[in-house]
Symmetry: D2
């Protein structure tokens, strides 16, 4: 070209008579499936105008579709309905409205409700609920028992929220409710907040780890920069159905994704991250080095830090990108690469270990 | 630097314990004021869950603030309330809810209503309404007379919408309503649509030109690329108040902004565009040429096409950017630049003429 | 979340001691392969400081790798070396420098040279050149015969460039050179410019269609918005090698990509576009309609316009996105969709026709 | 609008015949001036093909202009010329080439040279050099004395670079050179790297603080996200000239800007940050609170953390944005706000303190 140019200029041709196309577009989230398991992108905590949210239930489906989600749960508050002067309480209504949209958009809509008690004990989400009115008890134990009677999957939301600095997060009441099996999961990430005190306890008590947006406002459309994905739970399900999600939640097959961060049990996090990062065989070599491409096939940006062996001290591997590694390796030898993924933790402060072997031709 | 680097990497330091800051941010729209007149960014047509929109009225204020608007009008349909099974009709309620937010965010909230008749005659927005129930008549003339009785400012919305291709847009009924002074403005742009048949008629009948989003869904947050501003009416007002807007609308001091396009009467468009584009004096010269900087101080991207004189054949001047012009001019002479702004029209197919003189030192 | 949050905030943790990671990243261009053919992304025309470009030859490889290209040709001018006071002429040097980098980055580097005559006849690129000095003749026919003697692939660059408006682009000399088989291809797109007069002639004379950046300055890094890909030639090759590219060029298996636009012979454009756009089977149906997802698996944004049958009037299908179509179809019937791809042309003004059948369950 | 739309669609109208406009655009960097002082954006360390860089000198001017810079220094290595087989050494040549472009683009081009010794003592930049050949001595003291003889301004580059972990950065030789007045400044930021050991020493020895890109490759064009500005030195100069910069450097009137971070002496950092952040008077009040807008008029993103008084715990204030603060204040009282700017430090670990008073009406 004679100098750099851009196609924006053509936007003006014919411009005063043009009408633009109307449709929303879905941006698929790139997360690899595992063997025999679908990696489902799920946001299982959000609000509508039927409690203290700002949007109509069907819009939650449209924005979830646009954002590349497989499944959402609408979880309006049972006990908190600040708009009820305008929208009389009908607990089952948001789910009724959203499910029709869900079928059209092929987004799984799970009916939920947020049991909203003062702190402590705080809030719990009941999923797969069939009669929300039956959960409306003053006593939290009674609520959770009613949820169990309906076969709900229940998790404790944002534990630590509104707890005074220094005060304990996990109280005897929480331990008791958990011991009785009244909840099976724990939301370690809520929006941009991590509940550090609750994570170790969740692992100790063998609870499912969840992360959700808990959005009350409209979600911004997805940006090309991966930092803008909403907080979500990756659910590794045998089938892409509501029942598939329930089975996977009960089996604790989840990884939580918040910003650039992944948090999950080693048995799920390890195969997932290994599926995200693909090291190609060397494409070039000389007497001292080989050149290999490392590719991130996912939308999760990774930052790797070397813990031993060959390779650069750190590797920044943005969503969907490829980096070139020059590895010291004489012809015929095998170089070992040992890293941790700094943004992927199996527990607080425990980044996932990764290793590869590179065989020089 | 040893090679190019980016600060994104530091995002991971301390990452598993960080909580993010919560607030929305306002992105000011850069539009220059004119002498004695404030350039107010106004979106005077939008919907909430109180008719067929998807968001709560207060959210309309928050997103308008975020988008850099000075004023909005909530204009829910009077005759069309598809959510009334859930939200019983209370026409004044959206305005009541939004005005409190408007004071907190310093966004002017104008109470409006959309008179929603079949096509023809179509829809009309009444602004500054004080009793919406009083507008609920079957007959459009009766509606508009009731609006006049309340001192409303009325404009015809998206004329041409749902008119069959080939059918006339302007019918005797419209001419009659206009002749009676029952509406004073016309929405030539609605969202991304231009109503080409109505624009000439609006000029002929001396109507105010308006452009609005007519949004039913949440607005996406503003993007750094100016193409993403919502369609709006720039209102040149003596004061930044609802009354100031009314006076300016009645005086037809508006320019419509849709994507990269401006449409307005020459008496407003000309001074506005001249305020947007600033040509600096030459900063360098040799025996044949001078070098000058042309700066776009606004968020409206301009595309200029030469119609005579010196200067390049075309100039692309994105929002807020500066371009360097090399102008042929011998020392001591004055070069004349003559252009049209292809994206700024005083009428359909009539781009605004612009000219500058450049004096070579 | 309690309100919307962003992970950018954590960037400040530990910030005054952090050092950022250094590597470039490659952004793969998503273009589907065809049966038995690799779709190679090629930019076969560019300059370095060894003629009138602004960058060092090895940087051309690095930026090509970053931009997701498979192959480049360095084509410095033979007759125009404005920097020779600083960089003495050594025609083979840019290729020598770049090929080492090419092996490390796995980018195919084709050695080329631009035969640079006054207009007419203009400029020609010789690829796969082995001795550039041998091409340095004053007479263009002698140049091109020398190129043929080396087994070069030759194409005419930016035909029409610097031709006065109204003057003919294709002269008897061009026809004569082409008749002698002295060039086999024609660059219909160069940077952002289309050479409309030459395109029909290229088809008539059965020349290969090419499009290239002809960049003299550094290429901007690829942006998430597809409009920012450089102009390139998609080459459908049996193998990912320089020889594979030569064979495909001789066989005219190319599609040119400039901004949102594709231009190519029907026999290549048709299968390529059909591979880009994937229509899924219906995922939902009612008594009148089915819902289907249409997915663009490529980085080429498409705009479809209906020419008959069911489906929306137009479909905007950005790079890598999915849109939802509601198709009128009673249970058990088959709906036919007929569109043209407005951004993909087999000849000037001849958009590619596309059709799909949708079977309602 | 009937649904959300976008103007991108019009890009296709007339598309196969359009040619795009060619010019580069300058994106001004928003940094407020101080009383009597221009805030000049300066990158005083970079390379071209005349040493180990990858671009031609004039391109450094064009990209600096595009990036919104006021001044650059070309500082090719004296002792390291890896391209000299192709580009014979002519030390003054890059400056000669760039200065003509500088006049056309109105970018101040300062002639410099990098004195490139092994570590220790490392590298030094001499600015305002008039005879680079005269600096070519083996002995660093002799080099620096020759620079002083020419009236150069000299700073120590990236101190700590290639120093082994644990080894001291500041050696007796550095102290000796500094004591003799052979250098006056110190580069605490180089690209994305901070030299933590050298910063305290620079303050102790009363050296000017600098930060520069040290770029060897082409600079990416500026992005709408402020994190992408290059590392630079903000120089507070009495006039926008090379002499103005020299005087300001000698007077230590600088603030270094790297990513979101500012580092500078309190006497410059304090007025600069106070000029960046503008707190408007309250626009609304009730019996308990006032609402005020805080505006960032600069391109530096700020993160404020409360240290006392009223106001939110933290305030994220992106480049050019406005946030809304609700401040507890009864009518007639004055609320005090006390914060630190976490991204603006007067010394390592010492964020700048800021305070405001808000008077409730």
């Amino acid at each position: 070209m004679k100098r750099r140019t851009t196609w924006v200029a053509v936007a003006l041709a014919g411009v005063f008579t043009a009408a633009a196309a109307p449709a929303l577009e879905r941006q698929e989230i790139r997360v690899p499936d595992l063997e025999g398991l679908h990696t489902l992108t799920c946001d299982l905590h959000m609000h509508t105008v039927f409690s203290d949210g700002n949007v109509w239930p069907t819009w939650r489906v449209e924005e979830a579709w646009r954002d590349g989600l497989d499944a959402i749960a609408l979880t309006d508050h049972i006990e908190y309905q600040p708009k009820k002067d305008d929208i009389p309480t009908r607990h089952m209504r948001p789910g009724d409205l959203a499910r029709g949209s869900g079928r059209q958009y092929d987004v799984i809509v799970i009916r939920g409700a947020e049991i909203t008690k003062a702190v402590p004990p705080g809030h719990f989400n009941a999923l797969f609920v069939t009669n929300i009115d039956a959960l409306a008890h003053d006593d939290v134990t009674a609520c959770l028992e009613a949820a169990r009677a309906q076969g709900c999957y229940v998790f404790w939301n944002h534990p630590g929220w509104r707890v005074k600095p220094g005060d304990p997060v996990i109280l005897p009441l929480h331990a008791e409710l958990q011991s009785k099996g009244l909840f099976q999961g724990l939301e370690i990430y809520n929006g941009g907040d991590l509940y550090t005190n609750a994570w170790p306890w969740a692992l100790e008590r063998n609870l499912t780890l969840l992360g959700n947006s808990d959005t009350h406002v409209p979600m911004d459309p997805p940006q090309p920069r991966n930092e803008n994905h909403r907080t979500m739970t990756l659910v590794f399900a045998r089938e892409r159905t509501a029942e598939g999600i329930r089975e996977a939640l009960l089996a604790r097959r989840t990884v939580v994704w918040c910003g650039p961060l992944l948090a999950g049990r080693k048995e799920m996090l390890d195969p997932f991250v290994r599926a995200c990062i693909v090291l190609a065989p060397p494409h070039h070599a000389d007497k001292k080095s080989v050149w290999v491409h490392m590719r991130n096939v996912s939308d999760v940006p990774f930052t790797l830090r070397k813990t031993g062996g060959a390779g650069p001290d750190s590797i920044r591997l943005p969503a969907g990108k490829i980096v070139l590694l020059k590895i010291a390796a004489a012809p015929g030898t095998t170089a070992e690469l040992a890293y941790v993924a700094e943004n992927a933790c199996t527990a607080l402060g425990e980044p996932l270990a990764l290793s590869w072997s590179v065989k020089a031709p």
